[in-house]
Assembly symmetry: C2
Homo-oligomer: 115 residues x 2
Amino acid sequence: MAMHINAFEMLADPTRRLIVEALRDGERPVNDIVRRAGIHQSGVSRHLRLLHDAGFVSIRPEGRRRVYALQPGPFRELEAWIAGYRRLWEARLDRFGAALEERRNDGAAKEEPGQ
Amino acid sequence: MAMHINAFEMLADPTRRLIVEALRDGERPVNDIVRRAGIHQSGVSRHLRLLHDAGFVSIRPEGRRRVYALQPGPFRELEAWIAGYRRLWEARLDRFGAALEERRNDGAAKEEPGQ
DNA sequence: CATATATATTTATGGCCATGCATATTAATG
DNA sequence: CATTAATATGCATGGCCATAAATATATATG
């Protein structure tokens, strides 16, 4: 429900990546994940809560289980961010543009073209 | 030169993302980046070192400047990782497969199909 | 209702990391 | 060679976060 949490920070943690990868090919209840995660159940629950807050996963109660599943949103965000760097490897990088003229006004920063 | 550093951890830090974004449209010397980063020069230098160790940037000495530029490698890695989740939003997620049969062997973890 | 199972949360703790300051290095310049 | 500019590094510090243990909550089951 909270999108103020950065997607990269989420995936920075190895355990969280492991959880996400465990959910890659389908939803799973918590204990399923605990077995592969190699950490305490409370830790997995906390990570799942963070992932849920960040919009990475959905929760579906099923009896006394809580079934978690990946959500597409954050992945779209990541894809979009990286897309901005695609020309890095698809074309040669063009060294023209802002870098040159920026180097000109050496003493004081006046305006940033990028953002 | 060291690829043992995870790309997500690199981009988890806001300052580091800011640096990467500052280099998006071309190479820049350190002081150029310091101006936009809003943190001390030593901090920028340290981040640039980390980014270099992780293969994100190259260094080109130019007089007494050190000109940094983005490198495609880590971005390709990221792209590849996310590509594994593309069906999440391109198709509906299929809830069959491993999740079901995993739920069957409840008591003990025996083998993981995914990895 | 008592008990067991599944998950969440509270609390405490240790460790890592981003930052700033001071200093070192390297290079240009006079 | 002394000085200044540009960048890097050693050191100390504060804060955040991942983890575990204990406890709470919720749900199935007898």
